[in-house]
């Protein structure tokens, strides 16, 4: 598949006897939303960590934009354009919402080793960051410290930060977690638009969101992908029902 933005091949990761990732292969194609679902303990977080570089796989490879990135660290992968959000919001809590986004903008500019240029007086950088906040509807909360934002607002802020990175692919770890019905709905609409900017690989528990957004779904059980297919294929698959949707 030549239009794979992200391609994972034969990924293996064990913790002692536990095979958290078992010969896992999947890809992310241009313009699509690819959702990874699976019951708790299926190895979704372990997978995300290996893709973004927090965890090194025992074997297998991760290719991004045709480049092997398995040996690169988190920061290098982010600079290549792999924009990830966290399952539990991970922000600079003492910084305002705007400054959290500004950090991403300065990274894209590669200006983190400017020792004397005042950040607060860098108007273009501020404007760029503000633009990203506006996109997620957080512009009126720009000056609020991240620690004082609500849970939902922090999730929005994470998205604004990742937008500022202008990524070539989004890697979203349970973006709907704890968003509430209204918030989830809004975010679903937003992500629907977002796929035009860059493809999205997301791990998600919220089935309504997954079924309405995903172009393809991969079902992860005990570290293995038992099937990849369209929403309809996944819904009607007997193995998936047994492993995951059985109770619904």
């Amino acid at each position: 598949m030549t239009d794979s933005i992200l391609k994972i091949t034969g990924l293996q990761k064990s913790f002692g006897m536990l095979k958290a990732t078992d010969d896992l292969s999947l890809d992310l194609r241009a313009g699509e939303i690819h959702a990874v679902i699976g019951p708790n303990g299926a190895g979704k977080s372990t997978l995300i960590k290996q893709i973004c570089g927090e965890l090194a796989p025992d074997s297998g490879s991760v290719e991004f934009l045709g480049k092997e990135i398995t040996a690169l660290d988190v920061a290098a992968r982010a600079r290549l354009g792999l924009g990830r959000t966290f399952q539990v919001s991970s922000l600079a809590m003492e910084y305002s919402a705007l400054r959290n986004v500004m950090l991403a903008v300065q990274s894209v500019q590669g200006s983190s080793f400017k020792f004397f240029k005042s950040l607060a007086a860098d108007q273009p950088l501020r404007d760029t960051a503000m633009h990203c906040l506006t996109e997620v509807g957080l512009e009126r909360r720009a000056d609020i410290c991240a620690a004082q934002l609500s849970h939902g607002e922090r999730r929005q802020l994470e998205i604004a930060v990742v937008l500022a990175l202008q990524p070539k692919a989004f890697l979203l770890d349970e973006p709907m977690a704890g968003m509430g019905a209204q918030g989830s709905q809004r975010l679903t609409g937003f992500l629907d638009q977002l796929r035009q900017r860059a493809p999205i690989l997301m791990v998600e528990h919220d089935m309504d969101a997954v079924f309405s957004l995903a172009d393809r779904i991969s079902v992860l059980v005990y570290g293995k992908i038992i099937m990849t297919g369209t929403v309809d294929q996944v819904r009607s698959d007997a193995r998936v029902r047994e492993a995951y949707l059985g109770e619904e």
């Binding site: 988190v74 920061a75 966290f86 991970s90 600079a92 003492e94 400017k114 860098d122």
Partner: protein
């Protein structure tokens, strides 16, 4: 905004107070106060160095005595060779003499401390928390024992500098002139650190303290940021060490000891971690305690300990935080 203004006013008052000290001392006919104030200024400078790593970067270095001592020994070694008219060493046919010129000593102290800090930082910054504290302590102690065991430069007895080093033809033995040199350096470094704090680099550094995972996720490698801060921090403390050697006209391995690291840390914590003028307040209070309470009782450190305890328990922002309120990022 109101809080920022209070801290600004406090900082300005401190600068004015430091400026006025020579006049006050002369008025009270207590010239010794100038020497005392010089000590405060030099120790504050050492604290400003540590505060960059500890306050902004969250790097709890318990080994900054290493850099303080390096600065001191560079001043001492160069001066002793020069004063004894001995050759220092010969390299590739070129002869290197010692010197008593501060304008040669300082850059050399900055260079050597930077190299050592790159080495120490490269290894210790791979660890976190208590391990980082222990590794930095271990490196400093290694240098301490090396200094003790190095007979060429006094070993355990240390090294005397008979005359204060030279600065642009001024009479550096005049307490007011030496105080002026130290004060000017402290002000320059404070200006530099305040620029650094508000710069792009400062933003990344303070983000590294708050959340390294976040910094890496936006594509900035925390290690490089922290190592850079650690090196700059070490250089500032080394500069203070060189001045301290000149103040006492004597260097000893004590400058490398863990007591020194602890004292520098106390300046920072007393005054206010991460506050620009925190170490100035901290060092000032420390010397006041040492001088006045030390004159009354040998156990003055006990009272200092109680104050430190109170600050840690009730005033996390140190004395500056107590007066000016909590830090606010825009």
């Amino acid at each position: 905004m109101g809080n920022l203004t209070i801290e600004y006013k406090l900082n300005v008052s401190l600068v004015l107070l430091l400026l006025a000290i020579p006049a006050i001392a002369l008025m009270l006919d207590e010239p010794f106060y100038i020497t005392l104030a010089t000590k405060v200024v030099i120790l504050a400078l050492a604290g400003v160095g540590l505060n960059l790593a500890l306050g902004l970067g969250g790097l709890i270095s318990f080994g900054h005595a290493a850099f303080f001592g390096i600065g001191g020994y560079i001043a001492g070694i160069l001066a002793s060779h020069s004063l004894n008219a001995e050759l220092m060493f010969t390299l590739a046919g070129t002869e290197f003499d010692g010197t008593t010129n501060m304008l040669v000593i300082w850059p050399l102290a900055l260079l050597v401390s930077a190299l050592v800090a790159v080495f120490i930082g490269y290894f210790s910054l791979r660890t976190k928390g208590v391990y980082f504290i222990m590794i930095t302590l271990a490196f400093a102690q290694m240098i301490y024992y090396f200094a003790i065991a190095w007979p060429a430069y006094g070993g355990e007895d240390g090294l005397s500098i008979y005359v204060r080093n030279q600065f642009m033809g001024l009479n550096t033995l005049d307490p007011i002139i030496f105080y002026g040199i130290c004060f000017a350096l402290l002000m320059s470094v404070l200006l530099l650190v305040s620029k650094l704090k508000n710069s792009h680099f400062g933003s990344a550094l303070q983000a590294a303290r708050q959340n390294e995972q976040r910094l890496a996720a936006v594509g900035i490698r925390p290690f490089g940021i922290k190592l850079t801060a650690f090196v700059i921090s070490a250089m500032i403390t080394a500069l203070a060490g060189a001045l301290f050697a000149d103040l006492n006209r004597f260097v000893s391995p004590d400058m490398f000891s863990w007591h020194t690291s602890g004292e520098i840390m106390i300046f920072v914590i007393l005054g206010g971690v991460g506050r620009l003028f925190g170490p100035v307040v901290g060092a000032g209070l420390f010397i006041l305690f040492e001088y006045y309470l030390g004159g009354l009782t040998e156990h003055w450190a006990l009272f200092l300990g109680l104050v430190l305890l109170a600050v840690v328990l009730f005033a996390r922002g140190g004395l500056v935080g107590l007066i000016a309120g909590e830090v606010k990022h825009d």
